[in-house]
Symmetry: C2
Subunit: 501 residues, 2 copies
């Protein structure tokens, strides 16, 4: 591809055929034919300059060119590495290029059974979307919990306000500046986790029988909620890198076929995609123009691998049509069940609903989280968490690239804890799930993330965990996939034996 | 009435006209004409025996007769007191003797506004149904919370099972023996309070458009939930002592006009009524026979003034049609948001819904409550709480009897923290609410507890609090009611002045 580019440049009589282009083309060929395997380290700039007898500058420019083309990637303090093959936008679009037909959701019993199974702690948690509790500051947070109930005993003896404790709301409003939002604490409503926030949002903005748009593939809990609330679903094609297709969404809004939309704007589950800032801006404007509520789930936003987290869509919301939802379940303590939402123009309705469903969220955990945000070093903790997750994302991606069958493509999330693997079309994700389960490995099959029946050759993998056991599990899963690809899976026993040796 | 009885006995030529009947009749007359005021102490048995020159036995028998007729009551270690006038079953039936017409609920904005206002901590909380936090073992419970998160840090780092922590479920199953239930821990599902439990129950058993029966008057949160879920409401007449009318309910079931029913079986909010054991038995059989789910809210059951608490309807449920709901909000800590339910045959649906709405209830508070139940002296705490609430029930009832206008009747709950006051028909509860609010006093007007527009001359009062301030507030409310009764309320200023002096 690089070579073609160079040749074409030459053929077109463009100004000059650069040496660095030639070098980039040769390296690209070596990557393509497997001389440099996915995930392997490339020679250092100095080494290559010596080997190829070219200047350091030329090598640097060649590497830069390959980096731009996403064939290689620089890793801080480690050098350059061959990127894992990236799932292309087309693949998702192709899989989901259907008509704009909204449908009621009916999650099958098999899917429900698999979802339940995936939270089984006995499995290697490649199918989980839960955080890695070993990386969470539980002990420190629990200490603050003890201290908070000691200093504020009366808060346990009365119901918190439905919208939550003002101190926590104020701390969240402060944190949301990092997401590009300037909000007053009164605009924040505390919930028992992000799932409750999205559920309250859906109930506040939709009537049964109305249609909710989602990016496809979609987090399965949204499917369950939409089904339960008697809503219809419209799956909008999405790009593994940039998320939901704005064009299709705009078309659906113009046609007035949707009454709300849920998106995970940052480090989407299951793609890992980030809606570009420009698209976020457009989304906020688009929904305001059509006066349709946009429910944003930003629960992964703080898990950006970059030093700065990306903004939320809420940051661009001038008219209150964006209902932003999030929680501390991925960054502090899932067991605390503390989440929040910024419901915009739906605030009083959301507050009334919250009061109706469980009066308020528990007080002690709210106070502990507020204290952690104020004095617990949340920023420092996030930096360390992001660093670890960034490293693990690479490790999992490389492990997949090493063991999954030829032709497998992987998304390249820049935050969060999941990635999406597109296997060759002959590999059936359900069969892979069954085979992996026999080996004590959980993986999330693609069809769980849609009602279309698509994504049959896709799986979602967690990157929240890394250990020799996880590495071995990915290897096993890859071998099982390869077996399915060639028509037969290796017998469970033989793989188990290999794992033991 | 006693006199009539004695005379009739004599006229009928019955065996003998007893001296004790004569004495009872004379005392009853003195109560009726106000010589002995409601709530005032009667002479001791010894005193009266001396005064009337009759034997101690005769006085004891006379007092026993008056007690049976609920004109007087014995109070342990204090002697005999004139009972406050009791609201008669008829009054409620009369107010609600409507046809069996189910209606969609629409709680008006005025009602919503009043409900919000009543939780304002600046008001004297006569309108509250919240517990008295000063009587709750908050400090001890918080200490257990601190200790539990220290010894089980990992529970904070992961989601609890949707149905809750097994240890808490086991402790609750043990406690439920006192309610007459023999259950396995697996049958218990933990929720974030009783309101969430009832909401999950309604959603598990009903479809929008179906009809839910309730005893009228009904706790307003049920009205809000039924409205929100798009259900229709059928108000069934209820007796202030024995709760929902079984005959009417059976009729509605035979006519197949209801799809579910919610009742507060013990110390009902707002009547304070208890469904008699025999009726509980019949209820369980009736609903099983018609295969209609019965949602039981038993959140006040543990607040019985008797040494033993009454059984729940669940105790008589052989076929799983009773969904029993409760919480620790009234007995331990409302701010903890820990409740539970025993969903019977709807367990897996309830569990799925719980998972869908907020994944699970927070772990630390679950563990703390489990520890308190196991090792915190919950039984001892309950005994002390019941004793105090029993005393306050009498104090509030007497204060009402002293200051509210002639003709006012009051329920006589044997547990819980609310009572129901039926004022003369000329007193409008909304006007009383407005007038009381001006004096910084919250009271809950009767029409909040119905969609029929009835109960306009009724109010619900909290008995959870007692202090000179509460006593003065009841006096003020009574005077305001008397003023409304005679057509003019005393000016706020003059009453305030009186309160200060």
């Amino acid at each position: 591809m690089v070579e073609t580019h160079a040749r074409r440049a030459a053929a077109n009589g463009q100004a000059k055929f650069h040496l660095y282009e030639d070098i980039a083309a040769r390296l690209a060929r070596m990557i393509e034919n497997g001389a440099y395997r996915h995930g392997s380290r490339l020679p250092s700039i100095r080494e290559l300059s010596r080997q190829m007898r070219v200047s350091i500058n030329t090598v640097m420019t060649a590497y830069g060119l390959l980096e731009n083309m996403q064939l290689i990637e620089a890793r801080p303090q480690s050098g350059y590495f061959v990127s894992s093959p990236l799932a292309e936008p087309d693949s998702a679009l192709r899989a989901n290029g259907r008509s704009l037909e909204a449908k009621p959701v009916e999650v099958g019993s098999r899917a429900l059974q698999i979802i339940r199974t995936l939270s089984d702690p006995a499995l290697v948690p490649l199918g989980a979307s839960a955080p890695n509790s070993a990386l969470l500051p539980i002990v420190r947070l629990n200490r603050m919990l003890a201290q908070q109930v000691r200093s504020h005993p009366l808060e346990s003896g009365s119901y918190a306000p439905a919208a939550g404790h003002m101190r926590l709301r104020a701390e969240i409003a402060k944190r949301l500046v990092a997401s590009g939002c300037t909000l007053s604490p009164e605009e924040v409503v505390i919930t028992s986790g992000c799932v409750e926030a999205v559920s309250l949002a859906l109930q506040a903005v939709c009537q049964p029988g109305q249609t909710v748009a989602v990016a496809s593939p979609v987090y399965w809990t949204f499917l369950n909620s939409i089904q339960w609330l008697g809503l219809n679903l419209l799956e909008i094609p999405a790009c593994p890198r940039t998320g939901i297709s704005l064009d299709v969404l705009a078309y659906a809004l113009r046609r007035k076929v949707i009454h709300a939309c849920i998106i995970i704007s940052n480090f989407n589950n299951p793609f890992g995609s980030v809606t570009p800032e420009e698209n976020k801006h457009k989304l906020a404007e688009l929904f305001a123009k059509h006066e349709v509520p946009l429910i944003e789930d930003d629960v992964y936003g703080d898990l950006s691998f970059a030093p700065e987290r990306p903004p939320s869509v809420k940051a661009f919301d001038k008219h209150g049509w964006v209902v932003s939802c999030s929680s501390f379940s991925k960054t502090l303590a899932p067991g605390y069940r503390v989440g929040w939402m910024v419901p915009g123009r739906f605030r009083s309705k959301v507050e009334a609903l919250k009061r109706l469903f469980n009066i308020a969220t528990a007080s002690p955990t709210q106070l502990a989280v507020a204290e952690f945000l104020a004095n617990g070093g949340y920023g420092r903790h996030l930096r360390s968490l992001r660093r670890i997750y960034a490293r693990q994302m690479v490790q999992v991606r490389d492990a997949v690239a090493r063991s999954f069958p030829q032709g497998t493509r992987i998304t390249r999330p820049e935050g969060g804890t999941v990635l999406w693997v597109v296997m060759p079309e002959t590999v059936d994700a359900y069969r892979l799930y069954d085979a992996a389960l026999e080996h004590g490995i959980g993986i999330a099959p693609g069809p769980l993330f849609t009602i279309s029946g698509d994504f049959r050759n896709c799986i979602r993998l967690s990157t929240a965990f890394w250990s020799p056991e996880v590495e071995a599990a990915i290897k096993t899963a890859g071998e099982l996939a390869a077996g399915l690809n060639s028509g037969h899976a290796p017998a469970a026993d033989s793989v188990r034996q290999r794992l033991r040796t």
